[in-house]
């Protein structure tokens, strides 16, 4: 997908200056993530006393920047995995939501995008326009009406209130539609001559071609689900035990300071792995979100 223009690889002087600035900036951007992982290996006593120094108004005192632990400790990870199931249960909640939403989107989103991009029918442009409007509307606007609906359906305070609306997320329909529109029309026409119908064309022609963009959408959507706050906060107002880690993490990290950083690191890890695997696809996917 990248339309990079390959010219001579030599950099000008200003190119080297830009490289220097960008290197420094990238290091700065990575620092919070690196330090979260580093602090996750600090033993309980050290990290607790460190965190307890926060919030002092003493103008004489500074909070030291710690670079290496006195003892390299894995005890807090042991606590998370074995001793105290609180964190792990919330982590599983998060994974359950992400899994269910991705599964739902995987069925709905490509199919709808296919219908909106490879067919001509009356009302298509109107439907696409509505999807654009819905995509732009912030959660603050859609929240109140959809709570009414979910209440009427009897889904409030159940996991379905969080999962079902997200399965029809307009943004991902838009994203995949943008990709499918750009596919050459010969792709399906060759098959049509041989009598391949709409359904087989979808399964055997369109889906395989769309693999990279589906990967990108899945990665972006996973990051979205992993970080969702507003939806569970409102839709699960009376069911704290059903909430995902994204909402509850703040609370458990203030209760147990020793596992706070280990919890953060563990929480970041899935998105980090997904990012490492899909980074090029994600970039290509974001480039598609330009309205063309």
């Amino acid at each position: 997908m990248s339309r990079r223009i390959r010219r001579s690889g030599r950099l000008s002087f200003s190119g080297w200056v830009a490289m220097l600035i960008l290197t420094a900036l990238c290091a700065l951007i990575l620092l919070p993530i690196v330090f979260t992982f580093l602090y996750s290996f600090f033993p309980k006593g050290e990290i607790e006393s460190y965190l307890s120094q926060r919030g002092s108004y003493d103008a004489e005192k500074w909070l030291d920047v710690l670079y290496s632990p006195a003892v390299f400790s894995l005890r807090q990870y042991y606590k998370i995995f074995i001793e105290d199931p609180t964190y792990l249960r919330l982590f599983c909640n998060s994974a359950m939501y992400a899994g269910a939403i991705l599964l739902g989107q995987g069925i709905i989103v490509p199919l709808t995008a296919y219908a909106l991009s490879r067919f001509t029918f009356r009302g298509r442009d109107l439907i696409f326009f509505c999807i654009l409007v819905l995509m732009i509307l912030p959660f603050q606007v859609t929240m109140a009406p959809s709570v009414m609906m979910l209440r009427w359906m009897g889904l409030m305070d159940s996991v379905w209130a969080v999962i079902l609306p997200m399965c029809f997320s307009p943004f991902y329909i838009f994203l995949l539609r943008q990709f499918m529109v750009s596919l050459p029309s010969e792709l399906l026409e060759a098959g049509m001559v041989d009598g391949v119908g709409a359904v087989r064309g979808y399964i055997h022609v369109i889906l395989p071609v769309c693999k990279p963009i589906i990967g990108a959408a899945a990665a972006l959507s996973f990051a979205d689900c992993w970080n969702m706050v507003e939806q569970p906060l409102v839709y699960l107002a009376n069911r704290p035990n059903l909430r995902p880690l994204s909402v509850m993490f703040n609370q458990i990290s203030t209760e147990g300071a020793d596992v706070a950083f280990a919890g953060s690191a563990l929480y970041i890890l899935p998105t980090l792995l997904i990012y490492l695997y899909f980074q090029e696809d994600i970039v290509a996917g974001i480039q598609l979100s330009e309205l063309k």
């Binding site: 950099l11 960008l22 199919l111 606007v141 609906m149």
Partner: protein, 283 residues
């Protein structure tokens, strides 16, 4: 391309049904709901709910802060993304790893980054060390109005990469022969920047700004994690107002507030749609 095939409605059915059930129908039904008084008799009250909500000082505060915070974030992200994308272009094919690192925070969950962020902005933290190094007094970043700084910075840290990617691809799409021709004609760097680069990427620049603006309404996440349900007035957003009204079961107010906010968002949408019109002569 399939023409007028009936099967398309079958393919559309699940997606359309969901979109209508969870998005379109509630939005339309909500209008009716917002015009009722919500009692057992459910009387028609016209715009009374809208009047009451728009006079609510907390609603006014939330609305004002939501717009203000988004207007702090969007221009900052826009400008920073443009500068970074321009620098990436200078690096030519070596820019890929840098661009990818800039995008990494976009996928990081907000709540996991909160702890390290509050440590950085602590009264004795690294940010204040920097402030003192530069010759200023220490600042209480995590209180009152100063709290906006860590929140906005965290938002920028997380979201700037998205805009960089859009800008970078627009800059790459500018045909190199345009520059070569301009150099031959004797146009300098500034002339090239203002006469070639700027007009070529103007539609994208416009879109990036509007997208950054609309997305910045999501800054509630950062504000909620640092400030909780009832934060200091300077970071009390519309979402806080709505969540608290929900907790008090005052649904009519929440719905009316949502539609009042939607009016402003729709203006933004019109702007974005205009950017499509700006673009079409080019493509």
């Amino acid at each position: 391309m399939f023409h007028r095939k009936k099967i398309v409605w079958l393919l559309l059915l699940p997606g359309l049904a969901g979109l209508i059930a969870f998005y379109v129908a509630p939005l339309i039904g909500g209008v009716y709901f917002s015009l009722m008084d919500g009692t057992f008799a459910n009387n028609f009250v016209g715009l009374a709910n809208y009047e009451r909500v728009s006079q609510n000082p907390m609603f006014q505060l939330g609305l004002k802060n939501t717009w203000e915070l988004s207007l702090l974030c969007a221009p900052a992200i826009w400008l920073l993304a443009f500068v970074l994308a321009a620098m990436l272009k200078m690096l030519k094919q070596r820019s890929v790893p840098f661009r990818n690192v800039l995008l990494l925070p976009y996928l990081m969950p907000t709540s996991a980054m909160l702890l390290i962020w509050t440590l950085m902005f602590d009264y004795g933290g690294v940010i204040n060390r920097l402030v003192v190094q530069l010759g200023y007094e220490r600042v209480l970043w995590l209180e009152e109005a100063a709290l906006r700084v860590p929140i906005v910075l965290m938002y920028i840290w997380k979201n700037v990469g998205f805009s960089v990617v859009l800008f970078a691809s627009a800059l790459e799409a500018v045909h190199p022969s345009l520059y070569e021709y301009a150099s031959l004609e004797g146009a300098g760097w500034w002339r090239q920047a203002f006469r070639i680069t700027l007009p070529q990427i103007l539609p994208t620049a416009f879109l990036v700004f509007v997208l950054a603006w609309v997305n910045a309404f999501k800054i509630f996440k950062e504000a909620y994690f640092i400030g909780g349900d009832y934060p200091t007035p300077q970071i009390y957003t519309l979402q806080h107002f709505m969540n608290n009204k929900f907790a008090k079961l005052e649904y009519q107010d929440v719905t009316a507030a949502a539609y009042l906010f939607a009016i402003g968002v729709m203006v933004l949408f019109a702007l974005m749609y205009m950017s499509k019109a700006v673009r079409s002569p080019n493509t």
